[in-house]
């Protein structure tokens, strides 16, 4: 690992400085993770009095459980919709803000603040907008399209509600990154293409967009992580996984089965599945970042 040429020789102080970090990570990260891994191989009664080692039984019954399979599909639909909506909107707004030279800072201020709003509160705001009896959007849908809108009873409507609430919160994050990425595109490239007669649209798709691909990759990964994990607050305040399990995404199911239902084995197995998933995503991300470094350097 890289280190300084000139460094201090006192070892005791060095260990002392790193100690708080190590203590916290061991106590609240590694020990619980190990415990979770262990109990995913065990079967125990709800009171935790008897435990039995059952190898992969929890995992096998998990992947045979139609509710779990449904939850996987729900999570995939949810996170890909959130990614599509928030990335398209974020990229579009950033491109526009980057063109409107005189307004860039003002636009950023006006678009940045949803980042500060907690997912749970974003859920509350959208629930009110889309509320079947009081929400203005629900009323508009009913009057203009004759659609009987009810996210509290209708599965697909509930999904639309949580997708909108999550995407809305994420647009500003994606916007900030796309704008930074766009501002880093060398001006000379754009000018050269313009002199060769390329239209603004052509310049965007053949120059800017390919140069944005690292940003695009990073933003996609972050949006997926957000929709997998941090959307918990939205689900918990707005739908509680309902109606009929239609918004029961994986992270909410872990909480429900483990913390509410006290089904330790199954909940731990689900946690381990999620853990493997995030390890995979992180490893992929670092692989890609390394490749990016090789290209440029």
């Amino acid at each position: 690992m890289i280190k300084k040429r000139s460094y201090f020789k006192t070892r005791t102080l060095a260990y002392f400085l790193i100690l708080p970090q190590i203590l916290i990570t061991l106590t609240f990260f590694y020990w619980p993770a190990a415990q979770g891994l262990l109990s995913s191989f065990q079967l125990s009664d709800p009171f935790g009095l008897h435990t039995r080692f059952v190898w992969f039984d929890n995992y096998i019954s998990l992947f045979k459980d139609p509710l779990y399979l449904k939850s996987i599909v729900t999570t995939l639909v949810f996170s890909s919709s959130v990614a599509a909506v928030s990335i398209c909107c974020g990229l579009f707004l950033a491109t526009m803000a980057n063109r409107a030279l005189r307004m860039t800072t003002v636009t950023r201020t006006l678009l940045i603040w949803p980042y500060a709003i907690a997912p749970a509160i974003s859920g509350v705001l959208w629930l009110f907008l889309l509320h079947p009896s009081y929400g203005v959007v629900a009323i508009a849908l009913e009057n203009w399209f004759g659609l009987d809108w009810d996210p509290l009873l209708e599965s697909s409507h509930a999904m639309v509600l949580i997708v909108l609430a999550s995407s809305w919160k994420n647009i500003s994050y994606n916007f900030v990154f796309f704008l930074a990425g766009l501002q880093a595109v060398p001006h000379s490239l754009i000018e050269a293409a313009a002199m060769d007669g390329a239209s603004p649209f052509r310049r965007f798709w053949t120059i800017t967009f390919p140069l944005l691909s690292p940003t695009m990759f990073f933003v996609t990964v972050m949006t997926i992580i957000f929709s997998f994990f941090e959307s918990f607050g939205i689900i918990h305040t707005v739908t509680q996984g309902g109606p009929g399990g239609s918004t029961n995404i994986l992270v909410y199911k872990v909480y429900q089965d483990g913390f509410i239902g006290l089904n330790l084995g199954s909940s731990s197995a689900q946690s381990v599945v999620l853990m493997s998933l995030i390890i995979l995503i992180t490893v992929l991300q670092f692989k890609y970042v390394e490749r990016k470094v090789q290209y440029t350097g």
């Binding site: 950023r108 990154f177 305040t237 381990v272």
Partner: protein
């Protein structure tokens, strides 16, 4: 950037921007309007889009009904505790990793770095158990060593020692588990690596101790990085949901973001959406203000964290 004159496209650009800003702002605009209306107006279909004069009344009502004073205080303690704790712990950690040489250095760094892959969402139950009894793992050691027998022999009668130290329903429980941060440590490490070697050499030549070097040179140089992280971590701490939900059962210890759920009208209640929206506005105000006023550092911090 404008290279040639494209009036039609420019009009479209500004039009789209204004439309986009209006669309993104609409949910909060709608909430502000609702928060100013009396109940007859807010439950009218469709709700009028002209503000009323009940804002202060609704805020007062939300404040007392949701016990927002206590909850905002809790949120504030939690958010600042997490911010301060994370930054101090990461600064010391990065200082140790960059400016010292010891055998476990790489291993320690890897240990901290891998916590990126263990968000609280994937270890809900065991982390809760850990917080419920911090000495749980030690109990196993105690029992395995047969220390109960030793203590009983020493005391002369039968004693069962139970090691227990719970973090449930406490500020320490809300804050401590969230103060380890791979991203902050990594950011400070990257920054320290860019600091010229000569600074440390000069300090050493002048006989400065490591801690003097840290407080007098490293800390002042890290000011902008710290400011950026203050914004990001304050918002992160304020908006925490799952962890406070698990660890607090006492309503006196709930945070504002979680408590807001109780202001939502259920189907049986009168549709008090104006109260719910007034409450929502109060709860989002502190982090939104922090982000808006410290926008420059915030954007810098966000974008740097990517690297």
């Amino acid at each position: 950037m404008m290279v040639e004159k494209t009036p039609a496209l420019d009009t479209f650009t500004y039009g789209a921007l204004i439309f986009g800003i209006a669309l993104v702002g609409f949910p909060i605009f709608y909430a502000i309007i609702a928060a100013t209306l009396p109940i007859e107006e807010v439950s009218r279909v469709p709700m009028p889009l002209i503000p009323g004069d009940q804002l202060f009344h609704n805020i007062r009502e939300a404040w007392s009904r949701g016990d927002l004073g206590t909850q905002l205080f809790n949120s504030f303690i939690m958010a600042s505790g997490i911010t301060f704790g994370k930054i101090i712990v990461s600064l010391f950690g990065a200082f140790s990793i960059v400016y010292f040489d010891y055998r476990l250095r790489t291993f320690v760094f890897a240990t901290v770095f891998c916590t990126l892959m263990l968000p609280v969402e994937v270890r809900i139950l065991p982390t809760y158990e850990m917080a419920a009894n911090l000495f749980g793992p030690l109990q196993g050691v105690w029992d395995a060593l047969g220390l109960n027998g030793l203590v009983s022999w020493f005391a002369g009668h039968d004693i069962q020692v139970k090691l227990e130290f719970s973090l449930l329903d406490s500020y320490a429980g809300l804050i401590l588990p969230l103060t380890a941060s791979a991203t902050c440590t990594f950011l400070f490490r990257q920054f320290f690596l860019t600091i010229p070697e000569e600074l440390c050499e000069a300090a050493k030549m002048d006989g400065a101790s490591p801690m003097t070097f840290f407080w007098r040179i490293l800390l002042p140089l890290s000011k902008t990085n710290i400011a950026a992280l203050v914004v990001i971590e304050f918002v992160y701490g304020w908006n925490q949901y799952l962890w406070p939900l698990l660890i607090t059962t006492d309503s006196k210890m709930t945070t504002a973001v979680i408590g807001l759920k109780h202001l939502l009208p259920s189907p049986e209640d009168p549709p008090d959406w104006h109260i719910a929206m007034a409450g929502a506005l109060i709860v989002v105000l502190p982090p939104v203000l922090v982000v808006l006023f410290m926008q420059r550092w915030f954007v810098k911090g966000l974008v740097e964290r990517e690297k």
